[in-house]
């Protein structure tokens, strides 16, 4: 009888401890190295790719790979458009920082931010006050951003455009270097299908 009681007690103990995750060694042992992809304007981006074969992922704490990285072999799968990688620095087992720089003096690009939104870049269009770009992918919501006293950006559905301003605008974003974070959730950076200049009579 006593033998049975001891057996039952042990069984209960095993069940309780397993519920606490004590035996869940695999989850506890996963390594994490933070990843920072930074555009020339200091914005943290999310770009699909791998570091030493480990997929770059994102969560609430930012980008990371599930590996202890001591030296980084970075392969970005997503086109960077008007940017290119300038520098990769590694703090062993802690972080990998990828610094981007402009690769051209004129162009447009949409990229995702590390917190799951969108960055819109229009570089070198200072001589084109009003324009719009049609997207291949539909935006999940819409956004309006006053750029400067002469320009306003609208984004929604399949379009991002820059046109006349509305109301008082305090931003001073340069016409020739429009860099705007759009509060539009995205799991993929939409591709641009067509650029149109808007003329005003």
């Amino acid at each position: 009888m006593m033998y049975k009681k001891i057996l039952l007690l042990m069984l209960a103990l095993v069940l309780v401890l397993s519920g606490c995750g004590m035996f869940n060694q695999s989850a506890a042992s996963k390594a994490r190295t933070n990843v920072y992809i930074v555009d020339p304007y200091g914005n943290n981006l999310m770009v699909d790719g791998k570091i030493n074969g480990n997929t770059i992922k994102a969560d609430a704490n930012g980008l990371y790979v599930e590996a202890a990285i001591e030296s980084a072999n970075v392969q970005l799968a997503e086109p960077l458009g008007i940017f290119k990688v300038k520098e990769i620095s590694v703090d062993p087992k802690k972080s990998v920082t990828i610094i981007l720089e402009k690769s051209t003096n004129k162009g447009m690009k949409l990229l995702r931010t590390a917190d799951g939104k969108l960055m819109f870049y229009a570089i070198g269009y200072g001589d084109t006050p009003y324009f719009q770009v049609w997207l291949k992918d539909k935006l999940s919501s819409n956004a309006m951003v006053g750029l400067n006293e002469d320009q306003m950006l609208l984004a929604g559905n399949w379009l991002i455009g820059v046109g006349k301003p509305l109301g008082t605008i305090n931003n001073t974003i340069l016409k020739d270097e429009i860099v705007v974070k759009l509060n539009i959730p995205a799991t993929k950076a939409p591709e641009i299908s067509k650029f149109e200049v808007i003329t005003v009579k």
């Binding site: 819409n142 309006m144 609208l154 559905n157 046109g163 149109e196 005003v200």
Partner: protein
């Protein structure tokens, strides 16, 4: 009027209406009155027979029949009989009628007697060892067994085959002062001794009585048995026992101080009635007193009452009582189980007392019209009988000896009280009962075969090809509640003519319209509610239980209705007409939760004899017994290629065609309010030579302008004669004969700016509804076309396009982009009017943005009255920004 006066009036009216609604209509049974004294005879038993004739057995063994014609027939007297105490029992065997009874006489030899109830005056007595109080008669086709038990503890089983045979006996070792009870299946006889020991005796062997249970007290009044075989016995101290013959019991004090001389009764709802000390109480099946106050007659209840059910739905109990040898009364009490009362309905005083033998009898005078009567008698030989609007005995044991014949067990064969189960077949769309009112006197309802089954599942009777929804009560099989069941089986669908008959058929066109238009067949039972079937909804055959009240049970049908379509073309000869029949099937199981979803389409034949036609007029007649004309709905439709009708009945459809020379199409947005863009097209057929477009706006809608008018170069480009006569009318004519069109051509496209004074939702409207707002006319004359005046017009088509108006698309390029934004910004903050009103785009009702799919877009209706372009408008623009109407959806 003062408040209290009004209250008194209302209360009085309520009381009066209650009294009127809940009362028995009672009248004397005989033309001569309600009494009939048989000379020189006393202490009788009355056997109430169907039709109103009754048997009268005097205490000294003289048998008479009192007939409704007023004749008193004497059936003789058995010698040596001096004291019959318990009621006699009546049975029929070998085509002859008998009563049987036992004596309880002090000095002379006691007897069990079988006395033929006829003027042949044959009676056969046999001796029994002591006084006895009641018999049981078990009758089959081949034999009769009579049971009794005596005060010296002897139980008799006496066979009878026209003569009494040798008795088998067993002893129960104590006096028995009440009649035995036979089990429902006849296999066991239950005998309660005076000192409370219940014995069970197997009737097939009739030996070794089994001592089932011993109860407390003395038992001197008859027991009752319920449908489940429980016995109810009342002792002389007023304790009521409910006994399971397997050997258990429960009991309750009734509040009675004695048991008087009346047996326990059970009504059709299972309520148990006990009588004693002049009082009446009613208990439920678990022996809870339902009538705490009971009812006191103030006299001893000296014989067993009877329970009946009034046509008013009230349960009544008829209670004879005696105050002294020369004083008695009959009291009719109304039982209200809801409030727990027994209230006085009627009473009559008598100048004599009621003997134990004169248990109240109830039988039909004319069961078909619902007239029953009750009868009892006083010690001085006077019979009392009334007919009334009540039926009975109402209950599994609602009179002495269970049934009017007093056979002493749950005896379907002896019961004169039968009930009916009325089956009501209904169609599923509206739930109309398929009665003769809709279907005629020949083919109403559904055909079914019926078998009445006894408790042992032997067949009592059977009939074929009965009809549900039967009004003739004689055609509804009756059964004995508590023991018989009704098995019904549906096999043959019922065909009927609901619409295509009489004057309507005379009106129908085409050769040989169908003779029948509807077919119904059983699908399932209603299984809920008071008119539901008690088992599985798809049972067929199905077994239904007879209850103590007539039942109505509903069932639902699948229906197949004929849609008879007559096509009329403007041709000569036999080609001018064509007909077709469409079977519209209402599958009850599919549509039972949403009958309105049951629809059947009818389609015009537009390609006929190698020519194109259009159906410019539809006349549709569909069966609807609730229509003002009592037979059908009538609707007309114009310019439809097809229609959809509810599957609610047969339909007759006339379609009139014209040769398709042109189509005039009005294209509208799904919502319109204020300035609204619309398009008008005229498409003409090959060989067309002249053209007309005409439109009138109604309901206050105006034509502000014709934005553009584009005409095909084949018909003169822009060289049409045109007239916009008023703000609500336009007309374009081209009647200079040109070269016939080489093919179907859109000859005119007009872009209209309408003004709609009140919001209108065009989406979902049918042609007839559109025509409340627009009166269109178009025409294209074909070369060599022979045209009937009625067909001298284009086919009219109304279309709705969700993208005719795109919120935020100010330059009408089907996109909402930065060009529109730049326009909008210029007007932001302004109060706009005229052409600038387009910038006032919000707020809107029923607006839906193009998310997640472009097809979700709905412009809705502008509700803003300020005409100010502000933040509310900006919100709508932001939602629409970046939207592009797909090429396929753009109006060209």
């Amino acid at each position: 009027m003062k408040g209290y006066v009004r209250m008194i009036l209302v209360a009085t009216l309520l009381l009066l209406s209650t009294a009127l609604l809940a009362s028995l209509t009672i009248s004397p049974l005989w033309p001569s009155g309600n009494t009939w004294k048989v000379p020189d005879k006393t202490g009788p038993t009355i056997i109430a027979k169907a039709s109103g004739n009754m048997l009268f057995l005097s205490r000294d063994g003289a048998l008479y029949e009192l007939t409704m014609s007023g004749a008193l027939k004497s059936y003789g007297q058995v010698t040596g009989i001096t004291n019959v105490v318990a009621p006699a029992t009546y049975f029929t065997f070998g085509g002859k009628n008998y009563i049987t009874y036992v004596t309880a006489q002090g000095t002379a030899q006691n007897r069990l007697v079988v006395h033929e109830a006829s003027e042949s005056k044959k009676a056969t007595p046999t001796s029994i060892s002591s006084s006895a109080y009641g018999v049981v008669a078990q009758v089959s086709v081949t034999s009769v067994y009579i049971y009794t038990a005596t005060m010296d503890g002897t139980v008799y089983q006496v066979p009878f085959d026209g003569d009494l045979g040798s008795a088998a006996t067993v002893t129960v070792n104590a006096p028995v002062k009440i009649p035995p009870v036979l089990s429902k299946d006849g296999k066991f006889l239950y005998v309660m001794t005076q000192n409370g020991v219940l014995y069970k005796i197997e009737t097939s062997t009739f030996n070794n009585p089994d001592d089932v249970i011993t109860l407390g007290g003395e038992f001197t009044v008859p027991m009752a048995m319920d449908e489940d075989g429980y016995l109810y016995a009342l002792n002389s101290s007023g304790v009521l026992y409910k006994i399971d013959p397997s050997g258990t019991e429960r009991h309750a004090g009734t509040g009675l101080t004695s048991s008087d001389s009346a047996g326990v009764l059970i009504d059709g709802d299972g309520s148990v009635y006990v009588f004693g000390g002049g009082k009446v109480f009613v208990f439920n099946g678990v022996l809870t007193n339902m009538t705490p106050g009971g009812y006191s007659t103030g006299q001893k209840i000296t014989t067993t009452p009877a329970i009946v059910k009034g046509t008013d739905g009230v349960t009544y109990v008829i209670v004879p009582s005696s105050a002294s040898e020369s004083s008695g009364k009959i009291t009719i009490l109304a039982f209200n189980p809801t409030v727990g009362t027994l209230t006085l309905e009627r009473d009559w005083e008598m100048s004599s007392s009621f003997p134990i033998s004169a248990a109240v009898g109830v039988a039909p005078v004319n069961a078909l019209n619902g007239n029953y009567y009750f009868a009892t008698a006083t010690n001085d030989g006077t019979v009392y009988a009334w007919q009334f609007d009540a039926r009975g005995p109402y209950g599994i044991w609602a009179t002495y000896g269970q049934n009017t014949n007093h056979t002493g067990f749950i005896d379907a064969a002896a019961s004169l009280f039968k009930t009916r189960i009325k089956l009501i077949a209904k169609e599923g769309f509206n739930g109309y009962a398929l009665g003769s009112n809709f279907m005629g006197s020949q083919n109403y309802g559904l055909l079914y075969d019926a078998t009445v089954l006894n408790a042992d599942n032997t067949v009592a009777s059977s009939k074929t090809n009965l009809r549900t929804n039967e009004e003739d009560l004689s055609k509804i099989p009756e059964g004995v509640p508590g023991s018989q069941k009704l098995e019904v089986k549906f096999a043959t669908p019922t065909t009927s003519t609901l619409l295509f008959s009489g004057n309507f058929k005379d009106m129908m066109k085409g050769k040989n319209p169908p003779a029948t238009d509807s077919e119904f067949e059983f699908r399932m039972w209603q299984t809920s509610g008071s008119e539901g079937y008690e088992w599985s909804e798809t049972d067929n055959p199905a077994t239904l239980t007879y209850r103590f009240n007539d039942r109505t049970v509903n069932l639902f049908t699948d229906a197949t209705y004929t849609f008879y379509v007559y096509h009329k073309y403007p041709l000569t000869g036999s080609n001018s007409e064509a007909t077709e029949t469409i079977d519209a099937v209402f599958d009850y199981n599919t549509y039972k939760s949403n009958p309105q979803a049951a629809t059947q389409g009818a389609t015009a034949t537009l390609d006929y004899l190698s020519k194109q036609w259009y159906a410019f007029k539809w006349n549709v007649y569909q069966w609807n017994p609730e229509a003002p004309n009592g037979l059908y709905d009538y609707d007309t439709y114009n310019d439809r290629d097809s229609i959809s009708l509810p599957i609610k009945g047969p339909a007759y459809i006339e379609i009139y065609y014209a040769q398709l020379s042109s189509t005039i199409t009005l294209l509208l947005p799904d919502f319109a309010y204020g300035k609204t863009r619309a398009y008008l097209f005229l498409d003409a057929a090959t060989d067309a030579v002249t053209y007309t477009i005409e439109a009138t706006t109604l309901q206050g809608i105006t034509i502000d302008s014709v934005e553009s008018a584009v005409f095909d170069s084949n018909v003169g480009g822009y060289n049409w004669e045109s007239t916009v006569t008023t703000s609500n009318h336009l007309k374009y004519v081209f009647d200079s004969i040109q070269t016939p069109l080489p093919g179907t051509t859109r000859v005119a496209t007009l872009a209209l700016n309408l003004s709609v004074p009140q919001g209108v939702e065009f989406s979902g409207l049918n042609n007839e509804s559109f025509e409340r707002y627009f009166d269109m006319y178009g025409y294209a004359q074909l070369r060599n076309q022979q045209v009937e005046p009625e067909a001298l017009r284009a086919k009219k088509v109304y279309e709705v396009n969700h993208f005719l108006y795109v919120v935020g698309d100010f330059n009408n390029d089907f996109t909402v982009d930065m060009n529109d934004w730049n326009f909008f910004v210029d007007k932001y903050g302004e109060t706009v009017s005229g052409t600038d009103s387009i910038y006032n785009i919000g707020p809107r009702e029923r607006f839906s943005g193009p998310t997640p799919n472009y097809s979700d877009y709905r412009a809705g209706i502008l509700t803003d009255k300020t005409n100010k372009v502000d933040n509310l408008d900006l919100n709508y623009f932001a939602v629409m920004f970046g939207f592009v109407v797909p090429e396929s959806e753009r109006v060209k």
